[in-house]
């Protein structure tokens, strides 16, 4: 369940060298739960990215004028009541998408959205990209949480195969890259997400969780006793193996202790979901609820969420759009099609708005959880009819504690890299980097400070 930090003693690695080791050595040798904390206290403690596919119905996205906004534009209007928490950034380009060698404009947009480097064009297992911005943050922030990051989505989580013009599905079906060669598959099954967060307790009910922890603890106590018994009868070589067992048990005990501490927070009682609901909105809401729970319990602070996979052909008859999303996005500038595409765009944004409102209602410190959370919402194509990767529709939401200039529309000069936004976000998270992808520096005018 906590595989990201699998602990493998060096000795085992050395002895197993006759084998071909498929895992990246260094990663698997990172000791689990290194007790370190970030030195600087950053104003923003959580970061989430929400990605939508197939570009945007642009006439509905941008406000008419730059500067302070009275009304949010149509795509974002479900957050009108929270308009002061929304900053629309105009004019950012993802030039790296244009530099990928080979076709598949949809893969280019998702594949480079958070890495800002041209990835290696392939539909084989030899995918190669760069560490994505969320994962750079995760490597730092995971030190304080049980789970490094959550990658969530609604659709397919296949990582292999050809998904767009000869590009691997890894480039269309996730935006998170742990290492240049390790795309992180999204999880679309709410039950699996629930189990990852809350184990087999079956419910977030503190009583049920406590009971589960108490039962695990009594079994672990017994396991410890038995291990001591076994240690007396084995030779020194086997001692090492038993020590690993002891260490593993101790680690779980530490996690239980952490969880017990966090269990005092008030949580809504949620039962373990059955699986994937067939209704889109119901599915999305469930995933948003789980993400909120993960934040509330501080199980993780980093997430990416694909409201649909890139080049998705899903239809949305429930909102009066029976068309497949991708063909519809080639709207030929026809007003009716642009409007229907807008309906999908707005529908997606509504799912996200639900989470924003939810976090805003949860108190934390002097304000709400939303104040110390920064969301990036957007996509790697602007006008879907032409597949351009410039002037991308992106918005920042939340981030009050960092002084985010909410209720504004800020436009940047032509050719300003999207990567500059990522650099700035990392700075707000207290994980400063000198450069990222094709960045040329940080972005100004994002905050009032």
């Amino acid at each position: 369940m906590f595989l990201t930090k699998m602990h493998l003693p060096r000795r085992t690695v050395l002895r197993g060298l006759g084998a071909s080791l498929a895992l990246p050595l260094l990663d698997s040798m990172v000791p689990a739960l290194t007790a370190q904390t970030r030195t600087a206290a950053a104003p923003i403690t959580r970061f989430g990215v929400f990605y939508v596919p197939n570009g945007m119905s642009m006439p509905y996205w941008y406000p008419k004028t730059e500067g302070a906004l009275d009304q949010l534009p149509p795509t974002l209007r479900s957050l009108q009541g929270f308009k002061d928490k929304v900053l629309i950034c105009g004019g950012l380009d993802d030039e790296s998408a244009n530099l990928v060698k080979g076709g598949g404009d949809h893969a280019r947009s998702a594949g480079t959205f958070l890495t800002c480097v041209p990835y290696k064009m392939t539909n084989g297992a030899d995918v190669s990209n760069a560490v994505s911005v969320d994962q750079i943050a995760a490597r730092e922030l995971e030190k304080e949480t049980q789970i490094a990051s959550l990658e969530l989505g609604i659709e397919s989580n296949a990582m292999v195969g050809n998904c767009d013009g000869g590009a691997s599905c890894a480039y269309t079906n996730t935006i998170a890259w742990r290492t240049p060669t390790t795309p992180l598959p999204i999880e679309n099954d709410p039950r699996a997400v629930f189990e990852r967060l809350f184990g087999t307790s079956g419910s977030t009910d503190p009583v049920a969780r406590l009971a589960r922890m108490r039962r695990d603890r009594s079994i672990l106590d017994l396991v410890n006793e038995e291990l001591r018994g076994l240690e007396r009868v084995v030779g020194p070589g086997d001692q090492v193996k038993l020590d690993e067992y002891v260490e593993a048990v101790r680690d779980i005990e530490r996690r239980i202790a952490m969880a017990e501490e966090q269990n005092t927070r008030e949580l809504p009682v949620v039962d373990q979901p059955v699986g994937v609901p067939s209704d889109y909105a119901e599915h999305a809401k469930l995933m948003m609820d789980l993400l909120a729970l993960a934040y509330q319990t501080d199980l993780t602070r980093i997430s990416t969420f694909m409201l649909a996979r890139e080049v998705s052909g899903r239809a949305y008859p429930e909102i009066g759009v029976p068309d497949s999303h991708h063909p519809l996005s080639h709207h030929q500038d026809e007003t009716a099609k642009l409007e229907r595409l807008h309906k999908i765009n707005e529908y997606h944004f509504q799912q996200f708005a639900y989470l924003v409102e939810k976090l805003d209602s949860l108190p934390e410190g002097d304000g709400s959880m939303l104040d110390s959370t920064l969301f990036l919402y957007g996509t790697g194509i602007s006008d879907s009819n032409t597949h351009f990767h410039d002037d991308l529709p992106v918005a920042l939401v939340g981030g009050k504690n960092a002084g985010l200039r909410g209720g504004h529309y800020v436009r940047y000069a032509q050719d300003t890299p999207l990567a500059n936004l990522h650099v700035t976000i990392l700075e707000k998270l207290g994980v400063p980097v000198e450069a990222f992808g094709d960045s040329t520096g940080p972005l100004n005018r994002l905050t009032d400070v």
Binding site: K5, H7, G16, A19, V233, P236, K241, R314, K337
Partner: protein
């Protein structure tokens, strides 16, 4: 220095003695004093490179004292191996005549064997955890529950080519968390806990043949679809949902435009529901490329149907708890694909539940664990029954008689559960604890009291039973083995022989056969192999499975019929189903089931004609003589070359306009001395298999160039698959040694080292006397010192083993 305890030596001698008694390995008694080893060959052919100044390959032979065979055994075994496998001296250097090599190698072997006889070293296998395959098998044998290992546990890494390598099987925190979660889920499922939450399970069909019955578990007269064994944990309602295959980009449902089709769901062969699908809105879909125009209402309805019609394929039915066979398949006849469109296909099946579940009275798993039922609800009555249950389960799970402490500890957990809820919850908790215990998850071999560093000791009979059952059944011992071990009768050579034969005949031994052959021959890697669809349109998931199945069934039949190990390369038969037969160009063989087939010609005799390994040793778009040559050296001759030096560019792709044969391009390997040292050994072996393409079909030409698969090996011309097989088998004992080495590695769960070489030579000599039969190989390994004995570590156990 190694030090042996004299007082323990008799047990070693006894170990060797019963081997003699059985005639399994005739001991070759070396008469008289050993003749002095001559340095002549080394000085003349080896020290030019392997001297103290150059240290080529980290080896210097000029200062080596041949009178100190014991001390120098690690180096000398390497010398023997390099000479016997013909790797040294390298091509292009002066080489001694084969008889000279043989004489020298034989004298070296004799000297090494003699030293090993006087100072035996059985090596030492570390304690290890169960691997995933073993865990799944144990749960089935212990509790009667089939589980999906891939869902519960991460995969295992391999060491020395096998994923049961003890050194690699460690417990990590992440894994421990998974084990505990698995224990909870399994104990709930087994008992039928009221805590069982409804869950949705997804079964993916993958590639589907719509024109044939998709498998033996599907009803006759069905086409395509899927059959799965699913565990229904409670009596209750379950929801089944079917999703059909969709167009990759538009995501409309395939094949429902023109005709109506029928899909039926069966549980344990009984018809539950028949669904009609398709044909409601015939005609072209106006929403395929661009959106349907606003005013085309009919078109919009049609498009919506194409997008969502399968949402209707859902039903909710009550089902009694237990593991049941679910099948979902088409029943309408599938004509040859309709010119105007494809056929619909089943993509996924979801099973959700239980809803409104109740604890079942009786299921096979409950029968298995509830060895008694309390007659009343008195605490004492219930506890007596719980004690009975714990004692029975723990003995099998721990693979030994239980102690008072074992039972009391688990009963403690039972009592917690009982006081929290009731008797059954107590049993569920106890089971959860049992499945988390180190005695269950780990295979730990005890060290006798007062053992000193360097001592050699016998495994107890119980430890032997566990080694045996995990070797041949990939699981825990059964009652018969345990009882024999408890009475200390198992290690009696005759009993041991009888038991090994019984175990091989038992159906559980197929687990060993499939697992061993899949890893030894690397055919398991076929699951991650993806031949280029544009070049190999015939390749798909069901063909992939058929290829692996062929190799598994062939290997099983060889072992079960106790054939000589050489028949693996020679046998004139195989196992085919219709799809694989067509792949091989065999006509007149129909249906999805596999049957024995005897070849008309000898091209495909033995393993080397199996598409599984021919595909696994190819690239996605072409064959690779290098990969195939490497495979032969590694899997059959036990002499893999070292990995290539860094920074060597791959061969350029062939220029389509100017066909060049692969052979011409491979000549580049010879032009560079760095490449040549290994490729002159690898490439010819691969060329000999060039008549088989990258998915194992026979061919006469490639990319316009005619195939030339003739090679020269040790001076002989090899121009047919038969000649190639025979040449490999004729290479001294190298093939037999390799098979023995692989089986030994697998049986022990550790890599073989220099001190195992004399034992392996002895087993091979024993095989010769018994026609190289599989049973004598398995017995040879089981009766060997490394399998029966254990070496207490000498000093620093942390030193990495010799490569």
């Amino acid at each position: 220095m190694r030090r042996y305890d004299v007082s323990l030596a008799p047990s070693v001698v006894a170990g060797l003695m019963f081997a003699v008694m059985l005639g399994v390995y005739p001991m070759v008694a070396w008469a008289g004093q050993p003749e002095a080893l001559s340095r002549e060959l080394l000085d003349r052919y080896c020290v030019t490179c392997h001297n103290q100044r150059l240290q080529t390959g980290g080896l210097s032979l000029d200062g080596l004292d041949l009178s100190q065979v014991g001390t120098n055994a690690p180096v000398l075994e390497k010398v023997v191996h390099k000479l016997r496998s013909g790797q040294m001296p390298p091509a292009g250097r002066p080489r001694p005549a084969p008889e000279v090599v043989d004489t020298f190698a034989t004298s070296l072997e004799r000297a090494l064997d003699r030293v090993a006889e006087m100072n035996p070293n059985p090596g030492r296998v570390s304690s290890r955890r169960l691997n995933r395959v073993e865990y799944v098998n144990v749960i089935e044998d212990l509790l009667g529950l089939e589980i999906d290992g891939e869902e519960l546990l991460p995969s295992d890494m391999a060491g020395f080519g096998f994923d049961n390598n003890a050194d690699v099987l460690s417990i990590t925190p992440g894994l421990m968390a998974r084990y505990i979660a698995a224990a909870t889920k399994i104990s709930r499922a087994v008992v039928g806990s009221p805590d069982t939450r409804p869950v949705m399970q997804l079964y993916e069909v993958g590639f589907e043949r719509r024109d044939v019955r998709a498998g033996e578990d599907l009803p006759f007269a069905t086409h395509g679809g899927i059959a799965v064994r699913h565990h229904f944990p409670l009596d209750g309602e379950y929801v089944f949902a079917i999703r059909l295959k969709r167009n990759d980009t538009i995501e409309t449902i395939d094949g429902i435009a023109e005709n109506e089709h029928q899909i039926e769901i069966r549980i344990d062969h009984a018809l539950i529901q028949r669904f009609p699908i398709g044909g409601m809105f015939p005609g072209p879909d106006p929403g395929m490329l661009i959106a349907v125009p606003e005013d085309d209402v009919e078109g919009q309805r049609l498009h919506e149907y194409r997008m969502t019609a399968d949402h209707a394929l859902e039903l909710r039915v009550p089902i009694e708890a237990g593991t049941r066979l679910l099948s979902v398949a088409f029943t309408d006849s599938a004509p040859s694909p309709h010119p105007s469109g494809q056929l619909p296909g089943i993509d996924k099946v979801f099973i959700s539940g239980p809803f409104n579940g109740t604890v079942p009275d009786d299921t096979p798993t409950r029968r298995r664990i509830f060895t008694c039922r309390p007659s009343d609800q008195q605490e004492q009555t219930e506890e007596a029954c719980a004690r009975d249950i714990v004692t029975t389960l723990a003995r099998r799970a721990y693979r030994r008689p239980v102690t008072t402490n074992d039972v009391e500890s688990l009963l403690g957990i039972y009592r917690e559960g009982r006081s929290e809820r009731d008797f059954e919850f107590g049993i569920e908790r106890m089971l959860e604890a049992l499945l988390s215990m180190p005695q269950f998850l780990m295979r730990v071999e005890r060290q006798p009291v007062d053992t000193r560093a360097g001592d050699i000791y016998r495994l107890s009979d119980l430890e032997l039973a566990t080694r045996l059952s995990f070797f041949l059944w990939r699981s825990i011992p059964d009652d018969e083995l345990l009882e024999l071990a408890e009475r200390n009768e198992l290690s009696d050579p005759e009993t041991l022989t009888t038991q090994v034969r019984r175990m091989l005949a038992d159906r559980r031994s197929t687990r060993f056969m499939d697992d061993f052959v899949g890893q030894w021959l690397q055919v398991r890697n076929l699951f991650s192999q993806d031949p280029d669809g544009a070049l190999f349109a015939g390749f798909n998931d069901s063909l992939r499975k058929a290829m692996i199945r062929e190799t598994e069934m062939f290997f099983r039949s060889q072992v079960r019929q106790d054939r000589p190990i050489q028949d693996l390369l020679r046998a004139d038969y195989t196992f085919l189903n219709e799809q694989l037969a067509r792949h091989y160009g065999v006509e007149d063989l129909y249906g999805s089931h596999f049957r024995r087939y005897t070849w008309d010609d000898d091209r495909r005799h033995g393993l080397l004609g199996h598409a599984s390994l021919l595909t696994v040793t190819s690239y996605a778009n072409r064959t690779s003589v290098v990969l195939r040559g490497l495979w032969v050296l590694e899997a059959l001759l036990g002499a893999p070359p070292p990995p290539p030096p860094p920074n060597v560019p791959p061969l350029p792709e062939s220029d389509r306009r100017q066909p060049t044969s692969l052979r011409e391009r491979m000549e580049q390997h010879r032009s560079s001395p760095v490449c040549a040292s290994c490729h002159t050994r690898m490439d010819p072996l691969g060329f000999a298999m060039e008549h088989f393409d990258a998915i194992g079909r026979w061919r006469e030409s490639d990319g316009g160039a005619e195939i030339d698969a003739t090679i020269t090996l040790d001076g002989a011309t090899i121009d047919s698959p038969r000649a190639f097989r025979e040449a490999l088998l004729a290479s001294g004992d190298e093939y037999a040694r390799t098979v023995t080495e692989k089986l030994m590695t697998y049986a022990l769960g550790r890599g073989v080292d220099f001190y195992d070489a004399p034992i392996i030579r002895r087993i091979v000599r024993g095989l010769e006397a018994d026609d190289f039969r599989w049973s004598s190989l398995v017995l040879g390994v089981v009766m060997s010192e490394p399998f029966l004995l254990r070496h207490a570590p000498v000093e620093d156990v942390l030193v990495a083993a010799q490569p």
